[in-house]
Symmetry: C2
Subunit: 348 residues, 2 copies
């Protein structure tokens, strides 16, 4: 990948600090943002990585994200907490919710944290994976403003509401999945545009409700389609019911888009679920079964033309191992980062 920009983790972190410092984001919160975005980049999930900083800066500058808002617990019933990000940054609030849900599960077995008045929080898989690394089963969901047509419709009716889970996988690290309910994620359309690629058929409708494979047709007023037709539709509704309504966050069209209304609190909702395996069996025994299953997958009979079968999360772990302490950024991501720096009057 000769056209990628390679930078060390530490250097990138410093650049992010320099961007967020003048915006009154605490160093602790900036560190959480850096860790989360860099984890996504190292996994190769460029659509949910450093690309997003420019958006966060725009929202911070226009008052749609409050840099000093606290993460507060609003309600608690045993191992179930409803918390609020109070209009602050989505990533630091989600990191705090993740730590809290791990603590709740450690104490009670099962932990659940609902979070409202939050904002875009990057890749849900980062949080689910952190729960798995604590020896637990993690599940994370988030709402977003409507960008997807539900089955039978040709207009944006619901967010593409991502869903992630992760479980500890012993010598295979973790087994994890992080998917949007649309056939293609919004961020991936942006990456397709940046890299000059077409989309698969069945992923989007243009602004007139007609099928298209051109990223620009989505970006200029089009709409995403659910994956697996009514199944993706039904799952996006589940996320709205669990991460949105149950959290007390905004519902569908009341969620503010950071693109269209960066000056307003997104009020997205999230849910974090953790199950402490050790309460029911030795984590090593659980991991042994996961390893056995992974080995069955890897040795299954391959379809014609397939070189290797991957377990969920394997490609991400492999990419992260390859880059080590480095991060490879797409040139378009670097440009966005330079733009963010320019907004706050610095050069990278």
């Amino acid at each position: 990948m000769a056209d990628m920009i390679t930078i060390t983790r530490k250097e990138l972190e410093d650049k992010l600090f320099r961007i967020f410092d003048p915006l009154h984001v605490s160093r602790d919160d900036s560190k959480l943002i850096a860790d989360t975005l860099i984890q996504a980049e190292q996994w190769g999930v460029t659509s949910h990585g450093v690309l997003r900083v420019e958006h966060y800066v725009r929202c911070l500058q226009s008052g749609g994200i409050l840099p000093e808002a606290a993460f507060t617990v609003e309600q608690q019933c045993g191992s179930w907490v409803r918390a609020s990000a109070n209009g602050g940054l989505g990533i630091p609030a989600s990191c705090k919710a993740t730590d809290l849900v791990i603590d709740l599960a450690k104490e009670h077995g099962i932990g659940v944290v609902n979070l409202k008045e939050s904002h875009h929080n990057g890749a849900e898989g980062v949080y689910a994976n952190k729960i798995a690394q604590a020896g637990m089963i993690g599940m994370v969901m988030s709402t977003g403003n409507p960008i997807m047509a539900i089955t039978g419709s040709c207009e944006a009716t619901i967010g593409n509401n991502p869903f992630a889970y992760a479980v500890p996988a012993g010598k295979y690290n973790t087994l994890m999945m992080d998917v949007a309910m649309s056939a293609v994620a919004d961020g991936k359309v942006q990456v397709a545009k940046a890299t000059g690629k077409l989309l698969d058929p069945g992923c989007i409708l243009d602004k007139d409700g007609k099928p298209s494979v051109m990223p620009d047709d989505y970006l200029s007023g089009g709409v995403l389609l659910p994956f697996g037709a009514h199944k993706g539709y039904g799952l996006s509704v589940m996320v709205e019911c669990m991460a949105g309504i149950l959290s007390g966050a905004a519902l569908t069209h009341d969620i503010n888009s950071w693109n269209k209304t960066p000056g307003h609190c997104g009020n997205t909702g999230h849910i974090f679920i953790a199950m402490d395996i050790s309460k029911m069996m030795a984590v090593a025994d659980y991991e042994k079964s996961v390893e056995t299953m992974i080995e069955q997958f890897k040795s299954a009979k391959k379809a014609e033309g397939v070189q290797e079968i991957f377990y969920p999360g394997e490609l991400e772990h492999r990419r992260a191992a390859q880059v080590g302490e480095n991060v490879n950024l797409l040139p378009s991501t670097w440009e966005k980062l330079e733009l963010a720096a320019q907004y706050v009057g610095i050069t990278l």
Copy 2:
């Protein structure tokens, strides 16, 4: 539907009692089986209805299902229980797990029941819906023997591991979804065969790993494909991790197929999750938001050729309201029921 066989709920229940009585299934358990299968039939989910009785009878007669096995709690940590069906019928054990998880959530807010040494339990949606009718969010998952190829493979590697959820929806009854992780469910292939229909492309591979649309190509040694490619694959693995491994049930190929080895305990696993909404907000307020969302869906701009947009579960509730106290059975289902009756030496 002139070719359907219409029977009252009561008459059908009596016929089921007459089939299960000689097999030493208690009247209470037979009632739970009848209620569960009839609910699926009334929803129009024929693939998970009375069709299945013939299988259950074969397993009972060959010792693969123990009619008098008890549902036992094996382990408890707060609101989280690991239970066993001890090789008994899947439906009664799942009904008991559903009642238990509702009680756990009533007491603690969140309840989770893992169930092992179970068997086929019909439609997961029936249990999730029962949890929703108690004013809670319900989530249910089940493992099954491998009948689906994972992404990159052309042989059966994992079950199509169904997933269901349901939430209370006020005047719209409940919002619910029950889906298999395959592009088409095993039972639906059987219904396609019975009704002489072809499958959609991308649903199955034949025994040589070649794509096909003929139901028989799956039924004679073929394999199902995941829905949404790697997304359906990843979700089927999640179900295996949560409903199977975490329950202490058999893993993938160790799960016995009721078709191929009816004389052995299936040892499928299930997980039942309930969240008592009232612990965090008034259920009426929750339902109000769900109603608003449903009304947004119903009034969304329709795609060309679409008459009406449905919320998840709407078609099922509508079909159930239409039949009232009746059940409409497919002729092929009726034949299977007659076969089951014949096995136990009675006529219907």
